[in-house]
Amino acid sequence: MSPADEARDPGLQPERTRLAWRRTTLSCTVVAVLAMKATVSDEVTAKEVTGWALSSLVWIAFLAVAHRRIRSLGPARPLPLSHRGALLAVVCTIALAVFGAAVIW
């Protein structure tokens, strides 16, 4: 096996993992947009601005986690996902759910 073969994983595992992060970011975007839509009404009040700010913040946090991980998947043999990254992604997801519960209530 030549070094070039070794550098490129024939199963494209890093590539697939990168795309999985992209899909997950897309799902997070959809939920964040739904969260923003839930707070929209005709007039702009403090409650609405807070809702917008919170959901954008969560979305940006998720984007940052995903972006960091996608960048770290560059090398041919990437390190496993960090615990902090996994926990942050989960915390963003739960924050959206808590936000949704607050809006619905």
């Binding site: 993992t17 999985a20 496993p80 997801t93 949704g100």
Partner: protein, 131 residues
């Protein structure tokens, strides 16, 4: 229950996992990560469903609508927590060269989603019939 507390400790103390066993082939870790992300997407879909029930079924009675939406949101939260828990446990099992953990969560979640879907069908059909 103590099993749960133990894995909870593992979430926040990753170096304890690194101390154990051998680092698995990076491809297995990446596959585990993709499974984690797939579960996270499932959680996000459930949460999105909760928002959708609240926003796109305004004709439902308040209690029914809020109940369904909250059920979906809670399912989403449980799914996200379970995603990270299962990821940690799989990572540890791979390091220790053990069998991967089994779980009845997928079956429970499928049943819960089926029940919610049936409830939605009944509500929408009877809601329209009642008008």
């Amino acid at each position: 229950m103590s099993d749960f507390v133990q894995s909870l400790r593992l979430w926040f103390a990753p170096q304890r996992i690194r101390d154990e066993g051998d680092t698995p082939d990076y491809r297995f870790s990446l596959a585990n990560e993709r499974t984690f992300l797939a579960w996270l997407r499932t959680a996000l879909a459930l949460i999105g469903g909760g928002f959708a029930v609240d926003q796109f079924l305004p004709d439902l009675r308040w209690g029914v609508r809020v109940g369904l939406a909250l059920a979906l949101l809670v399912a989403g939260v449980l799914c996200a927590l379970r995603a990270v828990n299962h990821w940690v446990r799989c990572e540890r099992a791979m390091r220790r060269n053990e069998d991967l953990p089994v779980s009845r969560f997928p079956a429970v979640l499928s049943l819960a989603v089926a029940v919610v879907a049936l409830a939605m069908v009944v509500l929408v059909v009877f809601g329209w019939a009642g008008k």
